[in-house]
Symmetry: C2
Subunit: 188 residues, 2 copies
């Protein structure tokens, strides 16, 4: 799987990144993944090399971001089978999460991207499947001109301490509270 | 100017929006505009009709989002001359802000979009140039299948009360604190 992840790279050229940052979007509100997508759009506008690696399973549907990435030629990969909260075999889910993380490590170490998005990684850490110290070690040893963006609730304190830019997306008001379902285009 | 704003619309077709929402991204952290851009990318992936109207002046530089929007064929307009915090003539700036708001009203009332982003509108309200009740009245009377996304710090409470989905982007940690400048692609 890791081989598959680094095939078909965008053309290699000098890095556009002046100072690689580790960015964490966390909190219980909307906008963690969405803001990462906004960065993807900006970076794509600047012809930077971007990849989005998604940990959570998005069953079947081709969501707006996947359709957009395809149209833009941005690499966006659902890692392995992903995992869901509905899985009954948490042991098996943990193994999948660890495989996903190995694939992320391969992508980071390949040095072929200016920006790597690890979407929903925090859950794999929170559930104890991926040690936070291993994540930090990989981030510390990454190519110096690479930005890495990590999204997900409950980012562990060690990751927050290590990161350069941390934003908490805090839910002030959500339409679920009024019984309105998630809207296509807006939320997925 | 308002005429210019509604020329060259994307092809008119049935709305893809099931239930139009008013979304507010506020707070002192990163990600308010960026998350709005993420929605733009998603919606573009779904062939929805999107427009981004920017209140703040972005002098000279063609930022990543503008380059991306051009490549995608998404309408993104700096309203009039925009305004900056450096303006010495606040009276004149207020007039510009009011003209910008009229242009937004025209776009909203045109009904030609599924999603309208009013980027950095809150400042025009906070400075007293655009009455919040007028904004709310325009939102209330908008086409029912239109999402409107408003970004900017210090969203007024009346707007929060009226909105359907409100997220506070809270700064936990910022690289400015370590003397690292804003990075192209990542932050603009």
């Amino acid at each position: 799987m890791s081989q598959q992840l680094i095939t078909d790279p965008q053309p290699v050229k000098g890095s556009r990144v002046q100072h690689g940052l580790v960015v964490v979007n966390t909190g219980n509100g909307k906008g963690k993944t969405t803001a990462a997508l906004g960065v993807v759009m900006r970076a794509w506008g600047r012809d930077m090399r971007v990849i989005v690696l998604q940990f959570l399973k998005h069953t079947g549907a081709r969501f707006g971001e996947q359709r957009a990435a395809q149209k833009m030629g941005v690499e966006m990969r659902s890692l392995g089978d992903g995992f869901t909260w509905r899985s009954k075999d948490l042991n098996q889910t943990g193994k999948i999460a660890q495989q996903q993380w190995r694939a992320c490590q391969d992508v980071i170490r390949s040095g072929q991207y200016d920006i790597v998005v690890l979407d929903e990684l925090t859950y794999a850490i929170t559930f104890g499947w991926v040690p936070v110290q291993e994540v930090i070690a990989t981030l510390r040893e990454r190519p110096p001109h690479m930005h890495v963006i990590i999204t997900g609730r409950d980012a562990p304190q060690e990751l927050v301490d290590f990161a350069d830019l941390v934003t908490e997306m805090r839910e002030v008001k959500h339409p679920y509270q009024k019984g309105i379902k998630a809207q296509p285009g807006l939320e997925f």
